[in-house]
């Protein structure tokens, strides 16, 4: 597994140069953020976002559990077809990483979006939020960043 400092430096290097990640680099990003960026289990932040996007937002079916919500985000990060996008956030003086993946049938609520987006801070690699973007890739590309890895 890649070292977190090296991971942060690599993302910065790619994002600043608006360069694409190689397949092996994308594999490393997915593995790191899926295992270490997302919480290993349901915690207070997962519950908060679950209430917002599942119970209130109806983006996922209303019988989805907090654990299932969390694991749908993890599956999105891991999915080799998911895109990886970076945008600079002035307030943090840091890059925000978006994993952008398909909404599988069991994850489609009454207000499902075209894509699931899972956001992390680059350094430290903290999970920020995960929700379904109604306009999918159009939403992501309006964030004024660039693709590190284009969705397949």
């Amino acid at each position: 597994m890649i070292d977190p400092d090296r991971l942060a430096a690599l993302i910065q290097h790619l994002a600043e140069g608006r360069r694409s990640a190689t397949e092996p680099e994308a594999v490393q990003f997915r593995a790191w953020f899926a295992e270490h960026g997302l919480p290993s289990d349901v915690n207070s932040r997962v519950r908060l976002k679950y209430e917002q996007h599942v119970l209130e937002g109806a983006e996922w079916p209303n019988d989805t559990t907090p654990k299932e919500y969390l694991e749908s985000l993890r599956a999105t990060v891991r999915d080799v077809r998911s895109g990886i996008y970076a945008t600079f956030e002035v307030e943090l003086d840091d890059w925000i990483i978006y994993f952008v993946g398909r909404v599988r049938r069991p994850w489609r609520g009454l207000r499902a979006g075209q894509r699931i987006v899972v956001l992390f801070r680059r350094d430290p690699q903290r999970w920020i939020t995960g929700f379904q973007a109604r306009d999918g890739h159009v939403y992501v590309e309006n964030q004024e960043g660039s693709w590190l890895f284009r969705p397949r």
């Binding site: 956030e89 307030e91 979006g113 956001l119 801070r121 920020i128 939020t129 109604r134 939403y139 964030q143």
Partner: protein, 102 residues
């Protein structure tokens, strides 16, 4: 059904923007980034609702509620600017305001 839910949720979020500023500076930076990203998505949905409104696809109650949302967003514009949150198209707000007045 979906558009009714969209309206209820966007109305709630628009009202929340008016109160969120007081706690904004004290909140975690990641929470501010999350709010900004989620709000951007809400504004995409608002735009879809306006298209449905323009096409005459919304029932009367939803049209009335959408005009209410537009009025809330209009009054929230200074807050949206200060918090660097995406603003709706001002021309859309004017159009809905005029429709409410007419």
């Amino acid at each position: 059904m979906r558009e009714r839910l969209d309206i209820e949720i966007i109305k709630r979020e628009a009202q929340r923007v008016l109160t969120v500023e007081a706690a904004w500076a004290a909140s975690e930076p990641e929470d501010r980034v999350a709010f900004r990203a989620e709000w951007h998505n809400q504004m995409d949905i608002f735009r879809h609702l306006v298209v449905a409104y323009t096409d005459g696809r919304l029932p009367d109650q939803d049209m009335q509620d959408l005009r209410t949302i537009a009025a809330i967003l209009d009054s929230a514009t200074p807050t949206l600017k200060r918090l660097r949150l995406r603003q709706p198209d001002p021309q859309i707000l004017v159009r809905l305001r005029l429709a409410a007045a007419g």
